[in-house]
């Protein structure tokens, strides 16, 4: 083998190695997703499982150094708030959801979504009061699973609140508490999302956190 051939072979091998590393990196990037959080079991009398969620006006540098100012959902797991939007719930059972909502109102682009739909009884409770809709301009976020027909508008914390939350975790700040229950139905991997244009800094408020799994949208695995 000539010297040139050796050189070219060395370069080719190095290139192949770099290529393989890049390929691995791309594959790792493409398949990276937030962790999947399993719903905690509720008391047997309630006949289902429980999801406890929080919506925050900014996720903060602790949870996301690259997007500290993005709005986000969090879920409580073993008493700790975890930054994930991929949840697993059992099939054909009732899921009790509690959402602590810490963000101020933005308003809906389509006011149709201000009505509660798809929950048991067609209602939800806001700070203990049972309602079947909220004023669209007071909506801060929504929790919607289109494939299951579950539509939950979440009212915002008043702009004049004394103790508004700045960034996650928000425990202790002024909050609106929303509870509802829905029937999970048959197995599948459904998507859920927010419909409020809550992504500050993006056109129509609909980019960034609204289009990134882990912030304002995610999956609901029904298993």
């Amino acid at each position: 083998m000539s010297l040139l051939a050796k050189k070219v072979l060395g370069v080719s091998l190095a290139t192949a190695l770099v290529g393989a590393l890049i390929g691995l990196y791309v594959a790792a990037w493409a398949t990276s997703q937030p962790p999947t959080i399993v719903a905690t079991s509720a008391p047997p009398s309630s006949g289902g499982d429980r999801l406890t969620l929080m919506t925050v006006p900014a996720i903060g540098p602790k949870y996301s150094p690259t997007h500290p100012d993005w709005v986000s959902y969090l879920i409580r797991k073993n008493g700790k708030w975890v930054h994930s939007t991929i949840y697993t719930v059992p099939a054909n059972s009732i899921i009790h959801v509690t959402i602590y909502q810490y963000d101020s109102p933005t308003g809906l682009r389509n006011p149709y979504l201000s009505q509660v739909q798809g929950t048991i009884g067609g209602t939800m409770t806001v700070d203990g009061k049972t309602v079947n809709s909220i004023p669209p301009e007071e909506t801060s976020h929504t929790f919607v699973i289109p494939e299951l027909g579950v539509f939950i508008p979440l009212p915002g914390v008043s702009e004049e609140a004394k103790n508004p939350c700045e960034f996650a975790p928000c425990e202790g700040a002024d909050t609106r508490t929303v509870t509802f229950s829905f029937y999970s139905g048959k197995k599948g991997r459904y998507h859920w999302q927010c419909f409020v244009p809550c992504a500050a800094g993006f056109i129509n408020g609909l980019g960034g956190p609204m289009q990134t799994v882990g912030y304002m949208d995610g999956f609901l695995n029904v298993v």
């Binding site: 890049i22 791309v26 990037w29 493409a30 398949t31 540098p61 690259t66 991997r189 960034g208 799994v213």
Partner: protein
């Protein structure tokens, strides 16, 4: 600087110390200046656009910083390669070097070189690398589509993969044939010693390489969700990864435009005596037609992307409905570029096929004038069809019959090419060499692509097919089946001349058959999926379609494997075995095969004088029977 002036063109480079050579204008300097330029732009962007530098630089939400970073980075990269030397020397009134790096050793492949043959090789390798990156994306897409619900790849990453695959193939492969083969062989075929603008020729290549890296870098900035079409206003919502797409396609547009200008200037002005327009090899004609398309279409793309970048950074509203803009504007501008772009991909394929057919049928090209008018007809008509991409968009609905007509009329000049193929094959003596196999496969693939296109040009049937897998299958038949098959035909045909080495024929035949069968097995079922209502660019589909999708995915993996066979053949034959190729293994009458291998820097000792076109076959030629496929050489 290792430039030598025209006068002292004796190949006697001065050996400089290693440190001096490392610090010259070469790839290393270019990378250093490129990275430095990137951080300079990034820093300026944060200074002018952030409420607080510390805060902004910690997040990745500053489009201005990224755009400036890319632009400064590209400028630094080009300066580092030495593209500023010539204009600066001229400005200062110093004698400028006319040639760059032409007589260096292997180093000339890693920098600004004005030898068109070096640029051709650079293109071949550079584009090949990005072709494989784009193919890797396709493999990941097909892996995801094994299941009807997204499991493997995240939803935004899936869209980024789709967008990267599409942009990589549509952007980088626009120069798939013009880059390597036209740069290498057009000057030789017309009897010239160089291109009209050798420095610009090199610039188009290095711009394309910078563009490719910028596109791949999108994964550091969140990817982009728009696919290769980049529709507004979706592109205005997207995170910073979108800026990578914008800069990528902008640079590709500049590169295309310059490449086209250079080709046109070369073909018009630098033909040797006797090389009249009616003797021009048909490949050169196809390059000429493609160059016209590039020059006229690419500026539209650059302008469109500049508007999108302004919308994203300084809050103009070209495409924002609430601000007085229109989403239609982007669609119109994009497809005014986008449809000619499709023919930029197809036309060089026509040229390769018609150029190779006479060699392997041992007949003159049948219907030379018809083929030329077919290509020029396609060139002209392709500017009048772009709204067939928007048949259901509601824009100019009253004009749909016109666009239906113009789109269907474009199949007349395309039909000319088929007639020329049919005529050339008539009573031929087909020699089933590997390039010829790819040419014959092209005929079949492009036929399927063309006939399926008729269903898309007819509005009533396009209603069901628009945006479905049918469209996807259609343009993969025309682009992959057309461009990529002719690309490989050209590789197997010309690389023995470019490198002086021959491929292993058994591996090449395995590559062909595996690729041809798995290509059809991948894309024919996609027509069925599209007819059954499966849309493009989704990672979810009806569970009842899973069977066909699994079939397609497995075929796609086989297709990917066939590419690995090719790669193995390249490494095995061109690096390990290094069997020298014959001077003219195909007994071609084209002028490039009459030159010695390797072709001298100046191509010709004396400028040749042409007295016929290169298709003077069909006169009896006594050759010894070589057994099998390869007749022995008869001394070209």
């Amino acid at each position: 600087m290792s430039a030598i002036s025209e006068a002292a063109s004796a190949p006697q480079p001065i050996r400089q110390p290693v440190w001096r050579r490392l610090l010259g204008f070469n790839l290393l300097t270019a990378v250093i200046l490129g990275v430095g330029g990137y951080y300079l732009g990034w820093w300026i962007g944060h200074l002018i656009n952030g409420p607080s530098f510390e805060y902004e630089s910690a997040t990745d939400e500053n489009d201005v910083a990224l755009l400036l970073g890319y632009i400064f980075g590209v400028v630094g990269f080009l300066v580092g390669l030495g593209f500023a030397n010539y204009p600066i020397s001229r400005l200062l009134g110093r004698p400028a070097s006319l040639r760059e790096k032409e007589s260096e050793g292997i180093g000339r492949y890693f920098g600004l070189c004005t030898d068109h043959k070096v640029v051709g090789m650079q293109y071949l390798v550079g584009i090949g690398v990005f072709f494989f990156v784009g193919g890797l994306n396709a493999m990941l897409i097909r892996a995801e589509l094994l299941r009807p619900v997204p499991t493997l790849v995240g939803p935004s990453q899936y869209l980024s993969l789709v967008g990267m695959h599409g942009s990589m193939m549509m952007g980088m492969m626009t120069s798939g044939i013009l880059g390597p083969f036209a740069n290498y062989f057009v000057p030789i075929m017309i009897g010239a010693r160089r291109m009209a603008f050798p420095r610009i020729e090199s610039l188009t290549f290095w711009l394309l390489m910078a563009a490719g890296f910028i596109l791949v870098s999108t994964i550091f900035f969140g990817g982009f969700p728009t696919g290769w079409t980049g529709y507004a206003p979706l592109n205005e919502q997207a995170v910073m990864g979108m800026d990578s797409y914008i800069v990528f396609f902008g640079l590709v547009g500049i590169s295309m435009c310059l490449l086209g200008l250079n080709m046109m200037a070369t073909i018009i002005t630098m033909r040797a005596p006797g090389m009249t327009w009616s003797r021009l090899p048909i490949f050169v004609w196809s390059v000429f037609a493609t160059a016209i398309l590039m020059v006229l279409a690419a500026p539209m793309l650059i302008a469109t992307l500049a508007m999108a970048a302004l919308d994203r950074t300084i809050n103009t509203s070209f495409f924002v409905v609430g601000g007085g803009g229109s989403a239609y504007l982007f669609e119109n501008l994009f497809w005014f570029f986008g449809h000619p772009e499709v023919y930029v991909l197809a036309l060089p394929g026509f040229g390769i096929v018609l150029e190779l057919l006479p060699v392997f049928t041992r007949k003159p090209l049948w219907g030379y004038r018809l083929a030329v008018s077919g290509m020029l007809g396609v060139t002209l008509l392709s500017f009048f069809v772009w709204q067939h991409h928007l048949f259901v968009s509601g824009i100019n609905a009253d004009l749909r019959p016109f666009y239906m007509l113009s789109t269907e009329i474009i199949s007349i000049p395309t039909g000319f090419i088929f007639l020329c193929v049919i005529g050339t094959l008539w009573k031929a003596r087909i020699w089933f060499s590997v390039p010829m196999l790819f040419v014959l496969a092209w005929v079949f693939n492009f036929l399927i692509g063309g006939l399926s296109g008729v269903a898309l040009s007819d509005v009533p049937t396009d209603v069901g097919l628009h945006g479905s897998f049918f469209v996807m299958a259609h343009f993969h038949y025309t682009i992959m089946g057309g461009l990529i098959f002719s690309f490989f035909a050209a590789i197997y045909y010309w690389v023995p001349k470019m490198t002086g080495l021959r491929f292993n024929e058994m591996l090449a035949k395995w590559h062909f058959w595996l690729m041809f069968i798995s290509f059809n097995s991948t894309f024919l079922p996609l027509f069925v999926l599209g007819l059954k209502g499966m849309p493009r660019r989704v990672s979810t589909y009806e569970p009842s379609l899973q069977g066909l999708n699994v079939w397609v995915s497995i075929s796609a993996f086989v297709l990917g494997f066939s590419m690995l066979i090719f790669l193995f053949n390249v490494v095995y034959s061109l690096i390990f075995v290094r069997k020298p190729a014959e001077a003219n293994p195909w007994h071609s009458k084209s002028i490039e095969w009459q030159l010695p291998t390797p072709i001298p820097v100046n191509n010709f000792e004396q400028i040749p004088v042409f007295d016929s076109d290169p298709y003077d076959y069909g006169t009896p030629l006594q050759l010894d029977g070589g057994g099998g496929g390869q007749p022995a050489t008869a001394g070209a």
